[in-house]
Symmetry: C2
Subunit: 348 residues, 2 copies
């Protein structure tokens, strides 16, 4: 039995007294204790060594008081699962030295390796669950196939991912083959995470907003749908497609329990497109957490007010910024925890 | 008298037989003749030497057949006008070695220097006009104050401009002072461009889409409005706020003759928000121009169809990508030029 199951109850559509709160990258660079571990261990050691993954994942539960933990890992583990080398270089972001550029580059990828390559995840997640000790639920995650394709073709981070888009424009069949391989591997990995104890999963389509609506419907949506359908009978699925406001109506039909919103999408717009019963997650601009605590509290409350009573998970619109003060993150979390739907209903 | 004034007539709301076409970065890196000049002269030489600015600006008129030319320059000239050093390093993007971080950094900026620092623009624009020889109109431009602030505070390009947003979060009054200085300098520069012969101007809010609606209304919209109002009695003003779909309703009220759209904003959405009488500009995904000519033609026609009859300027949703083939750019332009509103009306 999870002691604080507010997050899961909200995902199931139950009535709650306040919205649950967690935030993207909550186990990360704004936490001094994380930076201490970062200085000692490589990125993939932090992901793979059960004690480290557990310590990092639980930090924001202990230190900031969030209502859910999210596994410390990275979306690029799927590129590794398929057989690609991924380097995490300090201050440079991810680098894949042998990117996919042509159809025959897919010959080097193997979906069947998924369980073996990601075998470390099972003991890591078990250690995380043990450290959480049933206080809050654990969120597992995967990147979306489109977002993985971006990195696997571009070979690194990018503003526009124009090589990835060139690949889709010039070799659409190869792109779809790659997307299907990523999808198949991701579904296997999601099932591993759930078997090891993940209580919910989030799919991150971080670069969905780089696509036109036509291309989103071709290159992202069908694969997100496959992933959601593959696991949504087992655990709730949250889909966060950053920048893809134009696809909310379609995303609302793919079997997700909640949809994440970035800070450019007004709650009123999302409600008008998705209806009042869709659980929405978000969406404070992470920059607000760089202001003073009072501003953080005022803006967080204003944001929650806009989503109305219920069907809302408080979160940022994207990952917390590294220069955020822990106190500001606490002010954000505390504002959500002190919010009372009943008081709102009484007009207070 | 401008021989092909289709672009200006569309901006004035007149009925035309087809939509005019030009595209962002049309005088740039996808043109082999531009690359030849790029190899010989520094970026700011290309901007400042009248013969070079004229040759580059006119290239797409001669080689691709666009209905309007846009001055070859850069939005960062306003940072220079105010007294900041701007370096354009090959393959690295812009770099401002002494960025603004605190209120007293503004002491080094001086709006009064604008005309002197940008004095080269007048002979450059006159040379451009002479080279165009009244074939098509010339578009002048400025960045938006918010977008300039992004570079002037961050000191370089960025995905998130988190230092710029931190500046706004922590020192909002300093941010507003800086935005006003940029606005004042930009208005002076726009007036110089118009006096020298610019027939229309475009305001580029390239990073408006990084802002929440609340912040856009605070840190971008009022300054765009000042700029539009300062010159819209003289020439038509196009406002392009990339990613700021959420602000279209407000942008539609600031006195612009047309609003630019990126490729994530469906024509149907923009029409529903702005009404049928607003001239909209855009919005093909530049990645489409990486596909074969036939796909370019099909997708361009589909895009024009979606905007309906009239009140539309054909453009890309952002700058043309460097790896674009000139033939693909021509296919885009020719599709617009062969489009017939009358045929659409007859149901062909």
């Amino acid at each position: 039995m999870i002691q604080n199951d507010l997050f899961l109850r909200m995902l199931k559509g139950e009535s709650t007294h306040r919205p649950p709160v967690w935030f993207m990258r909550q186990a990360g660079r704004y936490l001094p204790d994380y930076m201490t571990l970062k200085a000692k261990y490589s990125f993939f050691d932090r992901v793979r060594i059960p004690e480290l993954a557990a310590e990092i994942t639980v930090m924001p539960v202990d230190q900031v008081g969030v209502d859910a933990a999210i596994l410390f890992s990275d979306i690029l583990v799927i590129a590794q699962a398929l057989g690609m080398e991924v380097r995490m270089e300090e201050g440079k972001g991810p680098m894949l030295p042998n990117p996919i550029r042509y159809l025959n580059d897919l010959d080097h990828l193997d979906v069947e390796r998924t369980e073996e390559e990601l075998a470390y995840a099972t003991p890591a997640i078990r250690a995380v669950k043990s450290a959480i000790a049933d206080r809050v639920p654990l969120i597992g995650f995967c990147g979306s196939p489109w977002t993985l394709l971006c990195y696997m073709v571009e070979g690194k981070g990018s503003k526009e991912f124009s090589l990835a888009k060139e690949f889709c424009a010039r070799q659409p069949e190869a792109a779809h083959q790659l997307l299907q391989m990523i999808t198949d591997s991701s579904i296997r990995y999601l099932k591993m995470q759930i078997a090891a104890g993940a209580d919910a999963v989030q799919l991150f389509d971080s670069w969905g907003g780089l696509l036109s609506p036509d291309w989103f419907n071709q290159f992202s949506l069908p694969y997100l749908k496959q992933m959601a359908h593959a696991v949504n009978q087992e655990v709730p699925v949250i889909v966060f497609a950053k920048g893809a406001w134009f696809a909310l109506e379609e995303l609302n039909k793919i079997g997700a329990s909640a949809l994440g919103l970035d800070w450019t999408t007004p709650a009123s717009y999302a409600r008008s497109v998705c209806g009042p019963n869709t659980v929405l997650q978000g969406n404070l601009d992470p920059s607000i957490l760089l202001a003073d605590r009072k501003t953080v509290a005022v803006e967080t409350k204003k944001m929650i007010d806009r989503f109305g009573r219920g069907n809302h998970i408080v979160n940022l619109g994207h990952g917390v910024l590294p220069q955020t003060q822990v106190d500001s993150a606490k002010a954000f979390v505390e504002t959500a925890k002190n919010y009372e739907y009943a008081a709102v209903q009484r007009g207070i």
